[in-house]
Assembly symmetry: D2
Homo-oligomer: 356 residues x 4
Amino acid sequence: MSSSIGENIRLTIFGESHGKAVGMTLEGIPAGLRLDMEALQRFLDRRAPGRSDASTARREADKPEFLSGVKDGTVTGSPIAAVIRNTDTRSGDYESLRTVPRPGHADYTAQVKYFGHQDAAGGGHFSGRLTAPLCIAGGICLQLLAREGIRVLSRIAAIGGVEDEGDLTVSTADRDFPTVSEERGQAMLAAIREAKAAGDSLGGIVECAVLGLPAGLGDPIFGGMENRIAALTFGIPAVKGVDFGAGFAAAGMRGSEHNDPFTLKDGQVVTAANRAGGILGGITTGMPLRFRAAVKPTPSIAMPQHTLDLASGKETTLQIAGRHDPCIVPRAVPCVEAAAALAVTDALLGRRKERS
Amino acid sequence: MSSSIGENIRLTIFGESHGKAVGMTLEGIPAGLRLDMEALQRFLDRRAPGRSDASTARREADKPEFLSGVKDGTVTGSPIAAVIRNTDTRSGDYESLRTVPRPGHADYTAQVKYFGHQDAAGGGHFSGRLTAPLCIAGGICLQLLAREGIRVLSRIAAIGGVEDEGDLTVSTADRDFPTVSEERGQAMLAAIREAKAAGDSLGGIVECAVLGLPAGLGDPIFGGMENRIAALTFGIPAVKGVDFGAGFAAAGMRGSEHNDPFTLKDGQVVTAANRAGGILGGITTGMPLRFRAAVKPTPSIAMPQHTLDLASGKETTLQIAGRHDPCIVPRAVPCVEAAAALAVTDALLGRRKERS
Amino acid sequence: MSSSIGENIRLTIFGESHGKAVGMTLEGIPAGLRLDMEALQRFLDRRAPGRSDASTARREADKPEFLSGVKDGTVTGSPIAAVIRNTDTRSGDYESLRTVPRPGHADYTAQVKYFGHQDAAGGGHFSGRLTAPLCIAGGICLQLLAREGIRVLSRIAAIGGVEDEGDLTVSTADRDFPTVSEERGQAMLAAIREAKAAGDSLGGIVECAVLGLPAGLGDPIFGGMENRIAALTFGIPAVKGVDFGAGFAAAGMRGSEHNDPFTLKDGQVVTAANRAGGILGGITTGMPLRFRAAVKPTPSIAMPQHTLDLASGKETTLQIAGRHDPCIVPRAVPCVEAAAALAVTDALLGRRKERS
Amino acid sequence: MSSSIGENIRLTIFGESHGKAVGMTLEGIPAGLRLDMEALQRFLDRRAPGRSDASTARREADKPEFLSGVKDGTVTGSPIAAVIRNTDTRSGDYESLRTVPRPGHADYTAQVKYFGHQDAAGGGHFSGRLTAPLCIAGGICLQLLAREGIRVLSRIAAIGGVEDEGDLTVSTADRDFPTVSEERGQAMLAAIREAKAAGDSLGGIVECAVLGLPAGLGDPIFGGMENRIAALTFGIPAVKGVDFGAGFAAAGMRGSEHNDPFTLKDGQVVTAANRAGGILGGITTGMPLRFRAAVKPTPSIAMPQHTLDLASGKETTLQIAGRHDPCIVPRAVPCVEAAAALAVTDALLGRRKERS
């Protein structure tokens, strides 16, 4: 199994890109949570395609229908199920994927794994479209966390080698193209347009912070916040790396540089710096939890590519015709937030069991 | 819960650094696997302290006693339990950790999480010593994988900013201080000695490769090889980042650079390059699975550090007296291999269920 | 969590009786299983209401829509999701359930558990209607098992104190009102009609057998076939007891009576009798797996009942107006088969991991 | 896997009857629980053999050694591990079990399941001795529950067809041979002695009640208290049936007889009777939770039995020489309490997550 995760809440994601629907079930959200459906829709809209020239022209409203677990806008306590119907499906574009796998896509591995029975169109269950139900679940968790004073923020830290400048703040996260430096954001957009014109694509880095966390969330060893967040974040197709706090940069530091000294601030135990990314021993320190996700360049590119025709065993040139994002990093931003929100909610509810 | 992981095999790790013992239970290893106990011990010895001047002087043999699940060297099918008694415990060194938390350690977060009831000595359940049972479990899996023609290799890719050169090969992995370039290895050792002399510590990067994997292992979304390996690897204390294939570097690439073209080699479907690290859509491609783990510098350093006395609420200077590794990267190498072996074994056994 | 179960396959059930839909997700069914949708519908029809005067007049077609995981009638390997829309909902009948809980129903406990936020109409997530998605999942498993030569059969062993006679056979199970003795079946139907006329209801016992099982399925201790089947069967509302083989009668036997002697038959190891119900140490022996489920009388009865008005704190008399089965035992039969099929499929797939 | 269970606490049981040790790990017990080790030992002593002529002469102290998770008698929060060394092992008695399986035992099924690699002596991992670690875990939970005002009681409801009389009360449960009617208890003991003299054995029924439970514990569908308790109780070897409240007797009742009317008592919502066994819709009502476990007669009997020699394929007569309980029902009593305590603790901690 694979499409389920969580210990104190449990998310299952189902659906195929060009099947009838994508959807999710989410168990364990406490009864009585009042959902702001408009806020949830705004969150989903951040992931939806077609918002800028950085994204695919495929247009789908991504309006979830709640089948259970929510009544008159309030969580009932029983499993929440929501589906998004697929409307703009064009299976014809994808007929050949079984025999001519697209480089960088899961076409070949899906073929092997499912012995040729996979629903290949549009990547099927491996499609980025499966992040829509992830965002439904994450969006519900964001509302639960907000009630506890916890906020999840993100920014685009880099695209195509262009790095953002400055520190992630609340105001950054509200932007449509969330960079701290507007000028760097413009440079990223220019790079995306240039890559698109060349029939190519770009990768990038999303940085995420969770503010307002109490100390004491998470578990030692395999239940650490790093493990939980990574296990969810790698569920976003195209994420190929996750690090926390100083992360990979920590590998080049000395202990005297990396250790965050404990101190008091307004009567609270804090650390003077936050190289640990708010996590020590897997457990939150109460400082902002910070992590980054590396997003590979969109594998679907317009320029011709070499690949193999599995039927003939001959090499061939593939030209992908569909509509594709030249850079999915902007759309990955809410997905990373959703992953973080799910992991934090799971740990937060788990924490309630531990009171002695 | 936290100290358990796995879907088709199930590992539970228990113990505290200065308690009676550390140990593990491992369920799901198929009956009949013949264990080479000497090979297992050699694997554990790679993790044990005291092998070089890079590591702590604390000396413990790390000889596991198998309590169940193994009879006359063969796996019986019922849960395997093994313990390593703690012999060289010096609780006195750690008396003050409850009130004066060491920067970069889990002392403070453990205190909050367990409401002051944690076994604080030596980091308790958060100690690096808990990687010994991880290596018992991983060492068993390595033997299972070897029978299937699967090999797990690692090297030290960087320490203290000194990077290794060349490509990881089988011969590299057999070295005591596993770098490809012996000269770079010497430079790393020199950097460690220098940091030690300064009362400081260094971090680094471990690179791991799994060879001989069939295509088709792993699951979409949350059960991907990336998710599984990350969830296990972040269980090693001090790991702060994990990436796969080109990883964080992929964020700066174009699709045309990053996509690995499919081709045939000796009648097998392969990719001409391996930026994907052997994983597409979470599923193995059959190419070597490659990932890196970023290890932070050892938080225990000899030089005085600022921290807070939680009892008095006053800042204080802490001088850590115990014996500590100036760089744990060499000892982390087998731990990363253990994590990889566990994840791959879990996926490999899971794959057997899928035959249609 | 609660509405999920399974180790090698994973079932999640969602929905409320009078909400938009009930449904299920099912992960882990191997790709390539060809589903006979008409056979599945016939199986679901056995559970559906309105087939005889023993059941409620509420009429719903129980036609599942498959949203994912099945393409052109073949399982794709990714999660299967199916929903049944609720069409014949009459919420008005149930307005008062929050304050005047029906005896024998979950109205009061749901109210406490969900702090008043439950979807109360028709029992919500606690309704017998939730066995429809159980039967979708179980029906899929029955087809998987049939391919392996495994058959699940049931009969009504007793209703309202009238006991069936003779032994369960394949031909029995095909009947509409599955008793071995037709005459006893008539007596049961007469008892149901009599109870209905009196505004009362009857309970009964369902007996189930699984034929064609290989020896070696199941696990020791908590993964035994008894544990697995019981954990699923108690998921059917109204089941209050489960026993295996001689079951409760074994408590009155001597060892010399209860022990089944091993012997050979057609070159196979069998037992001369089957008091063990085909399970020893939690593991299948290869003999028919036999168990019984005790079903309580339908709590919804037409005659006036004493209960409490939670709002006023006063006792009151409740007269339930809706349409209700005077005896749900006949409709429970396919549900018990579904539970058995799910448990056996889970164990069967798990068995594949164990080959050494 | 099999030997692990639990959602909010997680128990893993390991060991073989005649291996080095039996033991358990238990995760999720909140830090700070002060354990009364003498009370725990008294609880374990109730399960230990050799207390009366009803039990085997094998004598083992069953003194657990806590390896982790408990410091100075207080739960630390990290996984609890405890082992009991096997001292009185006589492997010689069991040499022939691989080829001449004992009727009613798991010898044959273990052989099939583990492809002949099982540790056969004394039943290995299938031995009743594995209930010792179950009782360690259950005994810890009993102490946790006691702090919440929850008490678990049991009695022997029947042995060898002799039924107890009267209702289970607190005073009953404290008895060495816990029956309500002392005279019936004497009759049971006489029946056991008589069976023993005949080289035979007896089964029986254990009845268990949990008092002081709040309403609202447990979950709908598969997480009901029935499912949880059954999944644990069937983990006790020899249990072949579990029912709740009126249980199998409910099958013969009418709705008007079985439904428990709601009423008020001392300002609390209660039911006037308790045919539901304190559970509606899987959720506790606040009334005593009542269930029964049917225990089959000890399969090891002294009289000669027919069985098969798997090596020769010939039928043979088996005479079991070891020391065996003529009736294990008295020793099953604390095991049933342990199973109940584990299930209730799991649900109780889970309940904390649900506060909205």
